[in-house]
Amino acid sequence: MEKVFYMDNAAATRLDEKVLEAMRPFYFESYSVATSEFGYSLGLEAREAMEDARGRLARYLGADMDEFIFTSGSAESSNLAVKGVAKALGSKKGRHIIVSKIEDFPVLYSARTLEKEGFKVDYLEVDEFGFVNIDNLEKLITAETILVSIQHGNQEIGTIQDIKRIGALCYKKGVLFHTDATHTFTRVPLDVREMNVDLISVSAHTIHGPKGIGGLYIRKKTPIAKLMDGGFQEFDLRAGMDNIPGAVGFAKAVELVTDEENTRLAAMRNKIIEEVFEKIPDVILNGDAVKRIPQNANITFHYVEGESITLHLDMYGIAVSTGSACFSRSLEASHVIAGIGGDHERAHGSIRFTLGRFNTMDEVTFVVENLAKIVENLRKISPLGKG
């Protein structure tokens, strides 16, 4: 295969080989299920590895071991958090939940499903940078409110919410607080005690870990009902085959992320933004310039459409994504760009670059240089922006 310039790390990342090495024994040696403490040796080894991984992930979030369950990824985690709390509290406390308007689909569509089941859902507005207004959130909370679900960092525009203040507000109001940390876990500090979060969705696929494994932090005594019936795995909160290699790989992936790497990602992100603004006129940065996850840059190129840009970039081996409707199977433009008040043209012309461990500064230069040519050529044939 030709050289690939992969900058869609928010969607999926290349597995780190060290992660694969850590996982390997649990496919070929200790490959059994995790048995109870009275089981056979192989199962005990598997169990020990799984619990060791759980402990390390829990500690990373400042939590105890029995507060972290493994899932198939953050989509499942968010489904369990939102629907599971609704199922546990819907008939006891109330039937009102609040989510931000720019949540990723697992939270957003879980909320919509609950709405169809008779729950009342408020979709909290965000400002032009993607921040929720915490005073507005406070006004929406009623005695009926059972859950607030507001993401930590946005999947498209990278805006980081003030989780500590939202957590403090929810604590004061006695409302459970879930945050989807898929795009911030290990990249932006998150501590459950300090920030008072009750539920956190995380995933390995965004940090060079294996696909198909994620987790949900659930604070002790949080009322939550199981969605997947079957066995009694994961403290009886999720039936299903233990993904032991996945769990081990997830813990290893977390261990491999360093502060230095996050600083390097932020430097590459800044370089993308600076060079694009220097080389290409009529662009806007989507999201906040400062409170932004280190691996994300999202820029709208006026007068051109995102699918055309991504297809041209693909011819150079460059992989990025766009908020354009044409790019999607549904032909719907990004709800995040719409949420921050952007019009359709802003969504159609938006390109998201998400960086990872294997990107380099040279790649950034290559990408921006080609992007500048592509945008210039597409603008030449565009009827917009010439007036």
Partner: protein, 211 residues
């Protein structure tokens, strides 16, 4: 997995034919809008004697299939008479490209529409309209639906910009709910005038603004 686009589509996308603007076009039209993420402008030069399309250019704001269908439609229409060009169907355009993904069919429809609109614009400007019905408020409104309101990304009728339409003795007066000094005021005004003034029984179009 292979690209959803075949090689012909990709080739037209990479090297679109007949792109740009014709400044002294005999007929022109724009279809689609930035809101849909699809917009094509088309310009024609027509031989007054033979009615053959001697030159044709297009501009595209849109995805790969939008660019490719714009390109192919100019190739199909060039050298044809306007009556022949009017009969080109979206299926022919799509077939000439070796087929488009189903979800992108609307792009070929748009390309055909813009060609027909540009021909209609030519016919109106050159007194070739056969079916001469009197211009009504409905006709003016339908045409203004093709004028973009860049503030909203939707057309000016849908976004309630049109406050009043008065038609009298070949004069059309349009009042827009927009301050005159708005950054888009002039662009919308010019676009609106262009769409209306080609109507056969209209001599003058004036656009006014509230405040």
């Amino acid at each position: 997995m292979a690209s959803p686009y075949n090689d012909i589509v990709l080739e037209h996308f990479k090297n679109p034919r007949n792109t740009g603007k014709i400044e002294d076009a005999d007929g022109k039209a724009t279809e689609g809008s930035p809101a849909c993420g699809d917009m094509v402008s088309l310009y024609l030069k027509v031989d007054p004697e033979t009615k053959i399309i001697t030159d044709i250019k297009f501009e595209s704001y849109g995805c790969a299939s939008n660019i490719a269908t714009g390109s192919i439609i100019t190739e199909l229409a060039k050298g044809k008479t306007i009556d022949e060009a009017k009969k080109i169907t979206w299926k022919e355009a799509s077939e000439a490209l070796g087929g488009l993904p189903k979800i992108k069919t609307h792009c070929s429809v748009l390309a055909v529409e813009v060609l027909r609109s540009a021909i209609q614009n030519y016919e109106e400007k050159h007194g070739l309209v056969i079916n001469k019905e009197d211009t009504t408020e409905e006709i003016v409104r339908a045409r203004l639906k093709k004028v973009m309101n860049p503030i909203k990304g939707l057309d000016m009728v849908a976004t309630h910009l049109v406050k009043e339409i008065v038609i009298k003795d070949g004069n059309v007066r349009i009042v827009l709910d927009l301050p005159e000094n708005h950054q888009f005021a002039n662009a919308i005004k010019e676009d609106a005038i262009e769409k209306i003034e080609s109507l056969w029984d209209i001599d003058k179009v004036t656009v006014e603004f509230t405040d």
